[in-house]
């Protein structure tokens, strides 16, 4: 072969290989591999679609919360939430200066936002909102990038150390889909947590919304939370920054090593 022929046969080879690779790439997705969403949603699996026409959420009446943490523990056992992780919890605040002081409890859970910033950033489509507004994670699709954990303005996501993917409150979708209440609502001692369908004007949550002034946490986040609060104190609504936090401090005072990668900084 002279040089020219050699070159041409090489060109031919390159062209053929490129065509082959191209064909392979183009035919692969026709086997349903590439998806706008994720396989579960494409299949129309009931757990992924939820209850069409409904819009679930919660109203929490803070006047009734006694800070007993029954909800926290009910959630942990119902959902087998791993050690040191929480889907819901009730932080306690001391407001005012002595002698004019009072305590505030603030039950928190995922707000199942109408414009969830955790969902819009997910690069694998693993997290999404069901048709009834419940925001869930498909633990078999999530690749654990953590983008959603940073994107949630409410710190309501964590890495589950057992499944090794992002995890969060599901509003007990597995119970709700069988007509039961979420575990935290079921166990709420003070009757502070009320669950229901905002699309139904006769539901308890709709009635509460129409009879009391309600508000949400950090309204400026723009995610339109669907967990509303009655009697939420303005001092804690924005979950303000302050140098006083006792979290994790006992651990440090006792000289226990900080075993976790991230811990709260003690003053």
């Amino acid at each position: 072969m002279d040089e020219k022929e050699l070159q041409q046969s090489r060109r031919g080879f390159v062209k053929k290989t490129t065509a082959l690779i191209g064909a392979a790439v183009l035919t692969a997705p026709s086997a349903n591999a590439i998806s706008l969403t994720n396989p579960g949603r494409e299949r129309g699996d009931a757990r992924y679609i939820g209850q069409e026409g409904k819009r679930f959420g919660m109203v929490i009446d803070l006047r009734k919360c006694v800070g007993c943490q029954a909800c926290t523990s009910a959630c942990k056992s119902e959902n087998r939430v791993p050690k040191e992780k929480f889907r819901t919890y009730v932080p306690e605040y001391e407001l005012g200066t002595y002698p004019n002081v009072h305590k505030a409890f603030l039950p928190q859970l995922c707000n199942h936002c109408a414009e969830p910033s955790c969902v819009s950033v997910c690069p694998t489509g693993a997290t999404f909102a069901r048709k009834d507004g419940i925001v869930v994670v498909d633990s078999e699709v999530c690749w654990g990038c953590g983008y959603c954990i940073n994107a949630c303005p409410y710190d309501k996501r964590y890495f589950n150390p057992i499944t090794n993917v992002a995890d969060k409150c599901t509003l007990c979708a597995h119970r709700v889909d069988h007509g039961l209440l979420p575990a935290c609502v079921e166990s709420c001692v003070g009757g502070a947590r009320v669950f229901g369908d905002f699309n139904d004007p006769h539901s308890a949550v709709s009635k509460l919304l129409s009879s009391f002034p309600t508000t949400v946490l950090k309204p400026a986040s723009g995610t339109k939370p669907r967990v509303f609060y009655i009697a939420l104190s303005g001092e804690i609504q924005g979950l303000p920054y302050s140098p006083n936090v006792l979290d994790d401090m006992a651990r440090k005072i006792d000289g226990m090593p900080t075993t976790r990668e991230w811990s709260t900084k003690g003053e």
Binding site: I34, S35, Q108, F159, Y241, N244, D247
Partner: protein
């Protein structure tokens, strides 16, 4: 009445933070790659003759940095085995998830550099096989190189700019949430990329070429360039911080808390030692003529940008969202996302540099500018 001082959280939880030490390192790699590419384009696309000698070298450096960079991302994943899901699912989030843009950018960009490098070095590969490319072919190659370089510039800007978007899009974290983030990242990337070139160029010129000389004029030129990039970086940071801390809405409280607590690390270490000092070295003829000082400036600025990436990624996540104060980060020594994984990534980078520099005849090409025909 200042409610902030009256508020005591007496019980709360420690929230999760996903990104560790790998992520600042990833940003440093992609940034330096983009910068190296742009410096190589000074000669390839804009025809600036004075940068010709290092154009090929920095192109190869850009390639290597970008091949090593994504390893950081993969190591930061909790389920790295599911990487395929990134390519297959969730395309409806493409417009709102900057991380997803990486699918296209992280494939297109290294491929483009590789092709450009192959075109650039084609005559040398041919030569080593005893073939000579005709003048016409060489001109064609040159033209192709310019086109590839011109496509590459926006691609290089995007490949690093998108990392700025990843952070800037997170409105939950006040330190990330600024439209300036992509441009801030690009400006500091130019600093670290130039710094890295200043460190590597003399090593390679001195020890791995036939002419075995460090081009001091080039070092001085790079030092001057570095200083100008630092000026741009500082100006953008000035706009960012003045608006973010002074004229901002609610976010300013978190930022005040953050910068108050980290005042010395940020101001003295990052701004003064790692940016102002190298800037002065580059602008002062006395220092810029001295090899040692220029090298020192290169090292400082490369480290400084790494610290900036760290302060941004780790610092941003340290700001509490539901907890009132800052969090602390302690990277693991070994395992995923640890100090050892970052060191391994650097080792991989060095191995790749060695490999690529062995395969590509960069030294032959560079020698053209330093050695006369007779000497060869």
């Amino acid at each position: 009445m200042d409610f902030g001082t009256l508020l005591h959280t007496i019980s709360s939880i420690t929230p999760d933070r996903p990104w560790g030490i790998d992520i600042p390192n990833y940003f440093w790699f992609t940034g330096s790659s983009a910068a190296a590419f742009i410096i190589s384009s000074f000669a390839h696309v804009f025809g600036m003759k004075e940068y010709k000698p290092i154009a090929g070298f920095s192109l190869l450096l850009a390639f290597v940095l970008l091949v090593a960079a994504p390893m950081n991302l993969i190591d930061d994943l909790r389920q790295p085995g599911r990487i395929i899901n990134f390519f297959f699912y969730g395309w409806e989030n493409f417009p709102t998830s900057p991380m997803k843009w990486g699918v296209l950018l992280l494939i297109a960009y290294p491929l483009l550099i590789l092709v450009e490098a192959l075109v650039l070095y084609r005559p040398y590969f041919w030569f080593s096989k005893g073939m000579v490319r005709s003048q016409e072919q060489i001109e064609k190659d040159h033209h192709l190189g310019v086109v590839l370089g011109a496509i590459g510039i926006p691609l290089a800007l995007s490949v690093h700019g998108y990392t700025g978007y990843i952070l800037g899009a997170v409105h939950a974290i006040p330190l990330f949430h600024t439209p300036l983030m992509p441009i801030l990242f690009l400006a500091s990337a130019m600093v670290s990329g130039t710094g890295l070139l200043i460190i590597l160029l003399p090593i390679f010129q001195k020890f791995f070429t036939d002419f075995k000389r460090v081009d001091m004029a080039m070092m001085q030129r790079l030092a001057r360039l570095l200083s100008w990039f630092i000026v741009i970086d500082l100006v953008i940071r000035f706009f960012w911080l003045t608006f973010a801390i002074t004229f901002n809405g609610e976010e300013k409280y978190a930022l005040k808390l953050f910068f108050g607590e980290n005042f010395w690390e940020v101001l003295i270490v990052d701004y003064v030692i790692c940016l102002l000092v190298p800037m002065i070295i580059g602008f002062t003829n006395y220092f810029a003529r001295s090899f040692k000082w220029v090298l020192f400036a290169g090292i400082l600025s490369a480290i400084g940008v790494w610290i900036f990436r760290w302060n941004t990624v780790i610092g941003g996540q340290s700001i509490g969202k539901t907890t009132p104060f800052l969090l602390e980060y302690h990277p693991h020594i070994v395992g995923f996302d640890s100090i050892v994984s970052v060191l391994s990534n650097w080792s991989l980078l060095i191995a790749l540099i060695a490999l690529v520099m062995v395969i590509f005849p960069w030294d032959k090409e560079m020698a053209n500018y330093y050695v006369t025909k007779e000497e060869r």
